[in-house]
Symmetry: D2
C-alpha cells in the first residue's frame, strides 16, 4: 500500500507546529513523510521516527507531492513560491497567504507582500470554506486565534443573527506554544508560571485583520472585533470567549439548536450539550474544536470556543486541508 | 509596645484566606494574634508561629477586640452575631453581610437571611466606601471578583462615563485557591493542570448581585453586568478583563488620566503607565491591585484589573478595613 | 476486517488509567472496544467515542474475549475471577495478582489474598517476562513505579553486575495521575501546584515488595531497595533515579554498551546516547520508556529511567500484554 | 531611627536573587536600600519601591556601608574588589569566593582565580560557620544546592555518624529561578512545563567541589558526593534528597533526636516531627530550611532537606550573613 501513499515533506519541523505536523503525518494512512527540515537541528533524530532533520536547502522537493510550511512569516512565502515552481502543492501554516489582498497585507504587516500575484489563496478553514480548498494547490491554513474565533461565530454570521454594527467582543487565551520556540525573556518558565498576561489588546493584534476579513465574507453587516489575547500558563490549548448582541428577531435561547444544526455534520466540531462549558481539556491533544453556548439574556449570547492551538489551530487543520486538496476523506488521520 | 497592640482572633484560619490573614497579622505592628481557630486541625501548629489552632468553641472571645471571620457562608453570620454580642468588632470575609437587603440576599442565596437586623453592613472596599468603614464595628469585606471588578470600573462609574444601559462585559479568571480548601473532583490537580474552564457564566454567579449593587450606588444608569468567571491553573491571582462603551461625551483616550487622578492617593491601587498591561505577576503575594487601560476606539475601553485573590481580594483587604475601623494608618502591615 | 477484531471490554474506564486504555484501544487495528464500565458515570458519553459508560453489573461479559481491569485493589481480583469463570481473558492493571505468593501478599497488603489459587499470575512486564505472557489467560500488568525501576535495572541484574548485598537506591517522582481520580485533600490543585513532596519513603511503599520480588528473580544476590517516591507537580510522567554500586569486575563505563545491547530489539525502550539525560518529555503521551546512564565513578552508576505512568506504566503496557496474549505483533497500536 | 540604619546597595538587582534581596531589605528594620543596579533595566522602576534601577557604573559606592552582589560569576569578584577598596563590606552571592584555594577554583571553573589574594573568604552558611562570619568584611554566601545539602548533612558530619568513605548520595531538584533570568531554549515555559530533567549528574556539577570542601571540614572521613540535580517545573524551591550509610556504632533511629538537638537553637532550620516529610510548601517564600528524616534500616538514613532557592538558598541567607557581619540580631528581617 506504500506505493499509493502521497509523499510529503515538512519545513520547519522542529518548531512546535512542525513537530505536531510530523506526529500526525507519521500515523496518517495515506501520507508518507519523506523529509522534515530544521536548519538548526539538521542531523538530529526526529522524535519517534527513524529519520533525522535535514537542512531546508537539502530537501528533495522533487520527491514529494506536497509540503507543509511551518516556517516564520516571510520565509514561508518564499518557500511556497519555490515549491509551486517545482509543481509541489503547498499547505502554508504561516500568515503569508491568509490576507486576500496586498493592500490588507501591507496594512497589518507594514511592508509590501513579496508575491502579490499569489493572492488571494484559499483560506484553509474547511468548516467555512471547504468548497474552495478541495483540489487546490496552495492553501493558507489559518492559525489558532482565527480558527477558534471564527468557528465560535460562524453559525451566527452565516445566518445573520448579529445586531448589525455592534462590536464582537473576544477575550482570548493561548497556551505558550502559540508563541513559538525562539527563546524570549517573557516566555521563560519563571515569567509565565503562575502568571496570566494580556498582550496586543483591542485592535492591535495582527490576527484582527484576518478574522475581520473572514467575518465580513460571512456577514457584511457584522460590527468590529474587539480582541484581547492573553498568554496562559499552559503549554497548549486556546480559548476564545465571545460576547455578542443578537438582532431583536432572534433569541439567544435558539442558539443551541442553531449551532447543533450548523455543525451536525462536522466531525471536528463538538457543540457541547446545553449547560456544559467548553474547557481546554475537551480538545487538547485532539484535532477538533469544542463550543459551548450561554444565553445571558434574550439579546446577549456568550460563546466559549476551544481548540488545541497546535492541532485544529495549526497542524491538524493543515492536514485536514491536505486531505481535501488530495481528495482523501477529510478526517483521515485526525480522529 | 505590646500592651498597645489590638488583640485579634481569626476564625477559619486554616482555609486559604484564613492562612493569609494570619500571615499578614503576625507581621502587623499594631495587632496581636491571640487565637486562630480551625476545627478540623485543632492542636496542629500554625505555620510560622509558635501557636496551635484551636476549636472555634474554645476561642477566648473575651480576650480580643476584633475577629476576622474566614468561615463558610452561613457559619460566618452566626459567629458575627456571637462576637458582636460579646462586644467584639467583626471583619467578615464571607458573603453573609455584603448584600444590603434581606430581599436581595434571598434572591441570590435562595433562603432568608438569618439576621436581617444586621443589614446593611458597611461594604468593606475602602477605595469606594472608606468613609463608611472608619470606626465601624461590623464590616463586610468583599471577595476577589467584586473587589477586582469594582476597582476596575470605579473611576468610570463615579464620573458618569458609561453609556447608560449598555452592558458591562467582564471576563474573569481566578486562581484555584478562590474555590477554597474542601476537596472536590473538579479541583483535583490533574483536572486543573493544563486546563482553563469557565463556570457560572452570564448572570448566574452569586457575585453578580453584589457587584451590581455596588455599581448602582456609583452610577444608577449603568447597564447590566455580563460576567464570565474561569478557573485558572494557578494557585492565586485574579484578573477581571472589562469591556465597556463610553458616552459620546467622553473618549477612551482620556481614561488613563481619569484613572491616574482617581487613584493618585490610593497606595494599594497601581494604575500602570499607558501601554503596559496588568498581569498577575504585578500583584501576587501583595495587598494591592493593578489596573491597565486600552483605548480600543474612542467609544470602547478595555480595562484589565488584577489582584491577589487571597490578599486585596480577601485577607489583605480585611486588614485594610481593620486598620480603618481602629483608626490606624490604612496601609499598616500591608506594604 | 471488523469480524477479525478481538472484542474487548474495559472495567474502571473513567479512571485515568482506564481512560488511556480506551484511548489506545480505540485506535488499535485488531481490537474492538465493546464496552467500558464506570459505575459513577454510567450513561455519560465516553470522550472521543460514540459510546457511553455502563455499570459494571451491566457489562456483557459474554460478548468479549478479553477484559482490561483498571479497578481498585480488591475489586479487581473479584472481577478477574468472574471474567475467568466466563472464559474471558484478563489483563489486570491492579496490584491484586502481582505478588507471587499469598504470604507475600499478606505481608504488604495486611490481609489474606481473596483468591490464593490464582497465584502466581504471570508478571506482565514483557521486556523481562515476555515468554511467560504469550498466550496466557490472566496477566498482572505492573504499575508505573515497578515498571520504570525494573527497566532501569534489568540489564545490570540479568548480567550480575551489581555488588552483592549493596542497596539499590531509587529516588522516584510521579505525576499526580498516578494517585488516581478520587478527590483527596493533598491532591487538590493548590496543594500540589509549586510543590514537591516525598511520601512512603524508605521501605514502606507497597511497591517495594513487588519490585524486590522481581529483582530477586533476575539477581538473587542483589541488595535491598531503598525507595523514595515523590508527588511531582505534573499530570503524567514518572522518573526513577537509580544509584547502584557495581562489582569490581565491571566498570560503569561499560554500562552504555550493556544497555544498548540488552534493549537493542526492544522497540518500546529507548536507551539514550551517552551524554544525554532522560526527561519526562521523552516519554509523556507515548507507550515507551527512555533510559540514560551516567558513569559517576568506575564503581558507581547512575541511571535515569522514565515512562508515562498511564502508558508504559499502566495501560500501554496492558495492551502490550494483550498483544502477546493473543499472538498479535507486540507493539500493535502502541507506536 | 532612619539615621541608625545601615545603608546598603544591591548589584544585579533585577535578577531573581537580586529581586528577593531588594524585597527583604525594604522590610528590614535596620537597613536602608540606597541603590539597586541593573544595567539592562536602568531607569525602570523597582517593583514595590519608589526607586529606579541604576547602572552599575553610576552606583554611589561612597554612600553605602555594604553591598550585596547578585552578579554573574566573574563580574562579582571584580565588583567585590572595587567595593572593598572603597571600604564597603561585601556579601557576595556568586560562586567567586566560595572555594578556599585558587587551585580548587581552577579545578572547577577551568581558569585562574582573578584575585587569589582574597581567598579564602568566610563561607557564609551561618549554621555551620557562624563564628567566622561575625564582623567580617567579605563573605561568600553559598547558593541553594550547597546550603540545602549541607544543612541536611551537618548533624551527621559534625558528630561523625557517617560510615567512612561511603558515598553520600544526593538527588536534588531545583525550581527554575535557580537557573537565572537569561533566556535559554531549555528554560522556555513550554520546555519545562510538565517536564522533569536531570542535568550535570554524578560529579560534574560545579557545586560538588564546594559541597565536598565543606563536608571535609566537618568530617574528613566522609565519602564522596554523588550529586544529581534536576530542573523542576516550579518557579522556586529546592529539595535535596539524601541517602547515607551510618557507622555501625549509630542507629538511624537516633537521627531524629540528633537533628532536633543540633538545630534546637536555629530559628531558620525546622526539623519536622518524626513521620512528617519535608516538602517545598514548608519553605517557599520563607527564609528558612526544613528537614525530615526517615530511618530506612538501622544503618541507612534518608534525609529530605528543603529551602526556597532564592531565600535561604540565596538572598535570605545573604541578609542573615549581613546581620552577623554588622552585629545585628541574626534573623532580623527574616522571620
Amino acid at each position: 500500500m506504500t506505493d499509493k501513499r502521497i509523499r510529503v515533506g515538512v519545513y520547519g519541523a522542529s518548531g512546535y507546529a512542525g513537530q505536531d505536523a510530523v506526529e500526525i503525518l507519521r500515523h496518517h494512512p495515506c501520507a508518507e513523510l519523506v523529509f522534515a527540515t530544521a536548519n538548526t537541528q539538521a542531523g538530529q533524530p526526529i522524535p519517534h521516527t527513524s529519520m533525522t532533520y535535514i537542512k531546508s536547502e537539502d530537501a528533495p522537493l522533487d520527491q514529494v507531492e506536497a509540503v507543509f510550511l511551518a516556517l516564520p512569516h516571510g520565509a514561508s512565502a518564499q518557500m511556497a513560491v519555490t515549491a509551486r515552481a517545482a509543481g509541489v502543492r503547498v499547505i502554508d501554516l504561516s500568515a503569508d497567504f491568509r490576507l486576500d489582498t496586498p493592500a490588507r497585507y501591507k496594512q497589518w504587516y507594514d511592508h509590501d507582500h513579496p508575491y502579490p500575484e499569489l493572492l488571494p489563496a484559499p483560506y484553509g478553514l474547511p468548516e467555512i470554506n471547504r468548497a474552495n480548498i478541495v483540489g487546490q494547490s496552495l492553501v493558507a491554513a489559518p492559525g489558532c486565534y482565527p480558527t477558534t474565533t471564527l468557528l465560535g461565530l460562524m453559525p451566527l454570521l452565516k445566518n445573520g443573527w448579529l445586531e448589525p454594527g455592534n462590536p464582537i467582543i473576544v477575550d482570548a487565551k493561548s497556551g505558550v506554544s502559540g508563541a513559538g520556540r525562539d527563546p524570549k525573556p517573557h516566555l521563560q518558565f519563571v515569567e509565565v508560571f503562575g502568571n496570566l498576561s494580556p498582550y496586543s489588546p483591542g485592535r492591535t493584534h495582527r490576527h484582527v485583520g484576518e478574522i475581520e476579513q473572514e467575518i465580513a465574507k460571512l456577514d457584511p453587516n457584522a460590527g468590529m472585533l474587539i480582541f484581547t489575547p492573553h498568554l496562559l500558563p499552559v503549554d497548549r490549548g486556546l480559548m476564545a470567549s465571545i460576547t455578542v448582541e443578537l438582532k431583536a428577531d432572534f433569541s439567544s435561547d435558539g442558539a443551541q439548536a442553531l449551532y447543533e444544526q450548523t455543525y451536525a455534520n462536522e466531525p471536528l466540531v463538538n457543540v457541547l450539550p446545553a449547560g456544559q462549558q467548553a474547557s481546554l481539556k475537551h480538545v487538547v491533544h485532539t484535532n477538533g474544536a469544542a463550543i459551548s453556548l450561554t444565553s445571558v439574556t434574550a439579546r446577549y449570547l456568550h460563546i466559549t470556543s476551544v481548540t488545541d492551538n497546535l492541532r485544529k489551530g495549526a497542524s491538524g487543520q493543515a492536514v485536514q486541508c491536505f486531505n481535501l486538496m488530495f481528495g482523501l476523506p477529510e478526517t483521515m488521520g485526525l480522529l
